[in-house]
């Protein structure tokens, strides 16, 4: 899977959890989930579960903590899928 493909899939996963005043277009590759996209930290848990389902991987607590931005998420998914 190419980087743009990961990026697109992540955008699709993340967008339902955006607050009303943040649009999908504001998701950038370096967007910070909590600080920039204003995603509720509880919903980050749901995003992790959706990522697991979409990419058929298991994310550990350390992975979750490391997943601060869209780019972090892409890197972790890539690593999990190739290991």
């Amino acid at each position: 899977m190419t980087e743009p493909q990961y990026y697109q899939k992540l955008k699709t996963i993340v967008s339902p959890y955006l607050p009303d005043d943040v649009s999908v277009d504001e998701i950038g590759i370096d967007s910070h989930f909590l600080n920039e996209l204003n995603i509720n930290s509880a919903n980050l848990v749901d995003i992790v579960l959706d990522v697991e389902d979409e990419f058929d991987i298991v994310l550990e607590n350390d992975d979750m903590e490391a997943m601060q931005t869209v780019r972090d998420a892409m890197a972790i998914i890539e690593r999990k899928r190739s290991s």
Binding site: P16, Y17, N43, V45, D46
Partner: protein, 424 residues
Amino acid sequence: MNKRVVVTGMGVCAPNAVGLEAFSKALAEGKSGIRFQPELKELNFGCQIAGKPNIKHIELNNYFTSIQLKSEPGSGLKYGVIAGVDAWKDAGLGIEKEGPPDWDSGIIFGTGLLGVDRFRESVSQIDLGQVRRLGSTAVVHTMASGISAYLGGILGCGNQVTANSSACTTGTEGILMAWDRIRQGNAQRILVGSSSDSGPYIWGGFDALRILPRAYNDAAEKASRPMSKTAAGFVPGSGAGAMVLESLDSARNRGAYIYAEVLGGAVNSGGQRQGGSMTAPNPLAVRRCITESLSIAGISAGEIDAINGHLTATSKDSEEIENWSMALGRKGHDFPYINSFKSTLGHCLAAAGSVESVGVVLQLRDAKIYRNINCDDLNPAIEQKVHRSRVPLSTLNVSPEVIAKASFGFGDVNACVIFKKITD
């Protein structure tokens, strides 16, 4: 000086109608909301009928954000939020998205058990060792205070936001808790209500107790028969009712429509003594609750125009009538009109008191006493106390002024509230 408390808004999700106007029409016509439930048949229930609000046509996006709908809320949470938000809007109150909370407005929204379907999903995941897969809503969809928590955030309420629970008394008790807080000046208004989930996991325990009718699976609308000599047990129901209670001063200051005044009432427990038990009321406590509610409300027994009973359609109905008759010192032609909305709604359990209270207040607004259904064959033990004409089989245009509403619940707990048409 205690403040006077009035009803300024209402909302309802009932088995026979959703929304106030549909509900008043359904009650006036005696439209039953009891339906055969194929799911209960598949699960080998003895009683395969129940009352379940039809919310398929309700646009949930008008009540919840898309994030909140990402994982589907349980039925009771949906009913509660729909009824609660509707009541708030019906009261003409706005929703401020920014700024501080409304410190003067609170929420009391009770339930028996919330989100039992969601809880079952969690249990299954946990048993599979998958606790990490529960998601973010496993707690908020199943905590008893889930509805008040959701409503508190949607409406931005900054006064007390809580949930009460006292089985089938929950809804009526909540009204008195809100009334008490407002009359003491601790809140200007409280959105009060109660909700009960639909489904086999809520109703199963009652089926196991063999207190639900089993002979009406092919005649659902005939099954709920309060005060009938062929009453065969209560039909399980579900839904939510909600009211905005407010100080009279606050209501007048903002020019709100006033449905009725809450004169007050009483709650008590029979202590599971003197014939009371976990499932049966101590009759002395019931009578005491009624007489205390009169004295707290400051009215005489003779002023009660109508009673909306607990009256679930069991053998206890005639005992309840006996208790009302003794407590009020009235019988025969002199007995107030009495009805049980459970004949069309079934027994909505924790939601019963709030849903039925909405109906009671609509009777005051519309100057009617809504009909009973399924008691053409009045229980002879009831007819010994009360003249047949006092148990209306058609809706009456009689302009009631004062109506008593009571609920009695498992645990031997009682609540009775007095509503009055506002005249001054």
